[in-house]
């Protein structure tokens, strides 16, 4: 079993800055787990701490039942693919893949056989004699992956695995990576700042900010039930509408209208300041007045292909919604915007924690 248990992990730099600040994470055996957050949130530091490349200031790290907190990187059974792939430029593909085996003093014949077999599995068959400099970005990434999995690690760590690929290749590599992880069944952690990547690949996501975990959950949980406004705004290809409002008798006063409020998980008094949140994808519009809706003027329509992004203004507040391209409103038009109450989220305006809605 190679599940990962992290308890109260702290990484403090000599200048007093805490890159990772009291993190608890449990990753199940064979799970594909994403560390997601904006740059500087400590996700890479956490990954490097698991690899052993950063020393841990406080807390513990277990892989399986073994305490790995202060074990040398090479003895952790962990393999890592670096953001720049870190392929050795003076070795050909075969030697690169076989290097971990060379360190372990595996005989040369066996090394070459393992390298050839691993390369074949990642469709690198004809490239064994090439140098990394002669490979495309996608091929380099597969060589780096091959090198990482050639030793059958217990844990695979990926640092921004797709960030060095161009957009089209990225989609292809995403599918490839997901399949590979499922075939190998290896516990995998990857770091990304791209929420779409995390949503598409991961079984579970840990959203991080300022060295702390904001929420851990499945892609569905972080999307539909974000724990606070940070997670709500970070997840989703279009940022969530987060607008200030007031709770009043089970309803919410927002955008100059009174809308039905979701079921609250915390009792709040009437007039309590809240943040009303709805994803743009769930908002619908109508050209005629409808109950429980907001009147706003359409100020911008962006065509996104099959859908259109509509920006509407109600007073100073802005509302975004994504609608089907065929049914997009006209710019300058007055429209009534409504959203289903089960998709409405409420957050406390002060603590930013979610107090209502969600699944």
């Amino acid at each position: 079993m190679s599940d990962i248990t992290i308890r109260q992990l702290v990484k403090q730099y000599p200048n007093g800055v805490r890159g990772v600040d009291g993190v608890d994470v449990d990753v199940a055996d064979g799970e594909f787990f994403a560390l997601l957050g904006p740059s500087g949130c400590g996700k890479t530091t956490l990954l490097r701490s698991i690899a052993g490349l950063e020393s841990v200031t406080e807390g513990t790290l277990h892989i399986g039942v073994t305490d790995m907190t202060h074990v040398e990187p090479g003895d952790r059974g962990v393999a890592m693919v670096f953001q720049d792939y870190a392929l050795f430029p003076h070795m050909d593909v075969s030697d690169n893949i076989a290097y971990p085996l060379r360190v372990r003093r595996v005989p040369k014949e066996e090394r070459r056989a393992t390298a050839a077999r691993t390369a074949e599995g990642l469709s690198l068959g004809g490239l064994l004699d090439r140098r990394p400099g002669q490979l495309s970005g996608g091929q380099q990434q597969r060589v780096a992956l091959a090198r990482a999995i050639a030793t059958r690690p217990d844990v695979l760590l990926l640092d921004e695995p797709l960030s060095n690929l161009d957009a089209r290749l990225r989609l292809e590599a995403r599918g490839f990576l997901k399949e590979l992880q499922r075939d190998l069944g290896v516990t995998t952690l990857f770091v990304t700042h791209d929420q779409a990547e995390a949503m598409a690949l991961a079984d579970r996501i840990a959203v991080m900010k300022d060295g702390r975990i904001q929420q851990i959950g499945t892609p569905r949980e972080v999307f539909h039930s974000p724990r606070n406004t940070f997670v709500a705004s970070f997840i989703g290809s279009h940022p969530m509408n987060l607008l200030p409002g007031r709770a009043s008798g089970g309803r919410v006063e927002v955008l100059g209208a009174s809308l039905p409020g979701p079921r609250l998980t915390v009792d709040v008094p009437d007039g309590h300041e809240v943040v009303w949140g709805v994803r743009p994808e769930f908002i619908t519009w109508s050209g005629t007045a409808t109950p429980d809706s907001v009147l706003a003027e359409v100020s911008l329509v962006e065509n996104l292909g099959a859908t259109a992004l509509v920006l509407a203004k109600a007073g100073d507040a802005r509302l975004q919604c994504v609608v089907s391209e065929e049914s997009a409103p006209e710019v300058g038009q007055q429209a009534w915007f409504a959203c289903p109450v089960e998709k409405t989220l409420l957050f406390d305006a002060v603590t930013t924690d979610r107090i209502g809605g969600g699944e």
């Binding site: 690899a51 052993g52 490349l53 040398e72 990187p73 090479g74 003895d75 962990v78 393999a79 890592m80 670096f82 953001q83 720049d84 792939y85 870190a86 050795f88 430029p89 003076h90 070795m91 290097y99 971990p100 060379r102 360190v103 372990r104 990394p132 400099g133 970005g137 380099q140 030793t151 060095n164």
Partner: protein, 286 residues
Amino acid sequence: MTMATRTPSRTTSRTATRFVGRLGFVVFITVVSVFFALPMVWLVVAPFDANPTMSVKWPDWTLNNFHRILENPYAFGSIVNSLIISVGVVALTVILATLAAYALSRVRIPGRDALLYGLLLLSSIVTGTAAMVPTFQLISALGLINTQLGVVLVMSGGLLPTVVFILKDFMDSVPKSYEESARLYGATPFQILRDVVVPVARPGIAFVAVWSVVQAWSNFLVPFILLRDPTLQPAGVLMYTFYTEAGQADLRLIAAFSLVYTLPVVVIYFLVNRKFGFRFYGGIKS
């Protein structure tokens, strides 16, 4: 100003000025080139002249001068001595400097850069002539006077600061992720150095190796001070003893020997350049 607004006379005078300027430049370059080329021409031509003088002239072709080298009892041995000393210096310098440069490149210690600059500065001021007496006393105290080991140690000591300084720069440019990657596979620091850092920094190492050979090969002062026995002396020092019976500098022997003395360095340079190439491996965007 455009062509259309120029009057013909102005254009002519401008062209003339430009021509004179150009001519002056060419003459200057020629004089400078000849000044530097003359010793080279002498080096190539004089060995084949039956009666070489201090000036460059069309030679009276002969190969007899090279026979004189074979007749000299110490000449061949001195070339071997030069090789022994140079190889010793290069081996010691490159091995020690590689280890030191890697450590200095990777380990953060306070005052590291000050230490490097200090060493570099001191080594370029306080070598050779200024340190002659203390060097002699030190080697004498070590009992290494009149040994090639003593010469190798003193020369390596003189070269090390500069070589460490240059190599550290090359090692700084090796991406950290290469080493971290090797570390994750369980490689020891020595394995990382051998398998990753040294191969990637190879152009730099080849450069300092050639540079050290040239320095050791052409060094006169250190072996001159430390070696008494002519059977141990390198070529550069031996040449100093080439006099005729009349007490004149034996130009025929010196000319021929100079050429023989120069050739190995030129050959080494081309060999190393072909084998290692002074080129760089690049990582990808990081």
